[in-house]
Amino acid sequence: MNDALSPADERALERDIQVALAPLHKRCLGLAFGVVFGLGLFAATLLHLWRSPSEPYPLTLLSQYFKGYQVSIAGAFVALGWGFAAGFVMGWIFAFCRNVVTGLTRFVLRTRAELAANRGFLDQI
């Protein structure tokens, strides 16, 4: 098929394959999720303190999961740390799972293509 494609078409097809099968960088996605999640919890805590200082519910429920967390200025920094850690793990797992599926798919496609290419040889023996 590729013999009949123009160079531009070949480049476009190659780019499509790269986009679909290139891996995500696990550590970088963990970092991205961690930064955004941590900053989000930090901002939510401060916003809660500003808008509803006398009523910590329901944000205070986070203390069930994040040890040391409370709806206070100090708690906002605790949330920043815990949020970063939780977000990092989520991002890492996200990238890992995505890479596993694309890696397995690449392996299956390559194996099928190799078997198809060798079919003529196998028919002769």
Partner: protein
């Protein structure tokens, strides 16, 4: 003429396969994160114990039939979370400009399109809040949406009714846009540094 038609058909077929691969991969990834997240969140509460275990997380049973804060509920939550996440993840995958590969040499890692991530996460969050709010409002009762109603602290004007759901949608769209662009920006910057 016939050759051109065959080539076009082959290209479309290849593009379709790639779209399906990409969508499936993103679906599994989001499903795993949401499923495992709910699984761990449930188990933590079970292990901690207490007199009124899972008073708040247990409310998920209104949306996820069969879910409880227990060992068996953790596995039910894992399955629910995976399938819901899989469905959501497929929204992230199919569009070509969600992810871009770059570089002609060395290790190539996917880049995230900030525009698509911002838009997709914003729409998903907005739709999620819209549906949850209206389901709770339609169910009625004396304390309909008592927990979700606290969102008015962060989103002034939000309430558990139809008008409130529209206001919440606008806020969530904006929040999701910021979150999506933030994730893409940090990720792309970090990958560029890591590959340098």
């Amino acid at each position: 003429m016939a050759d051109a038609a065959i080539i076009t058909a082959e290209k479309l077929k290849a593009a379709g396969v790639l779209v399906r691969i990409n969508a499936r991969a993103w679906g599994v990834a989001v499903g795993a994160v949401i499923g495992l997240g709910l699984f761990v969140a449930t188990l933590v509460l079970v292990w901690k114990g207490g007199p009124d275990i899972g008073q708040h997380l247990g409310r998920l049973q209104f949306i996820l039939p069969g879910y409880t804060v227990s060992y068996s509920g953790a596995f039910i939550g894992l399955v629910y979370g995976f399938f819901i996440g899989y469905g959501l993840g497929r929204f992230l995958g199919p569009r070509r400009d969600v992810a871009e590969a770059r570089g002609d040499s060395g290790p190539i890692h996917v880049r995230l399109s900030a525009r698509s991530w911002g838009f997709t996460i914003g729409v998903l969050l907005a739709l999620g809040l819209f549906l949850m709010t209206n389901v709770l409002a339609l169910r009625g009762g004396s304390d309909a949406g008592s927990l979700l109603g606290h969102l008015h602290v962060y989103f002034p004007g939000y309430a558990v009714n139809f008008t409130g759901s529209l206001i919440g949608c606008a806020y969530m769209l904006a929040l999701g846009w910021i979150v999506g662009r933030g994730v893409a920006f940090v990720y792309n910057s970090a990958v560029t540094r890591a590959e340098a």
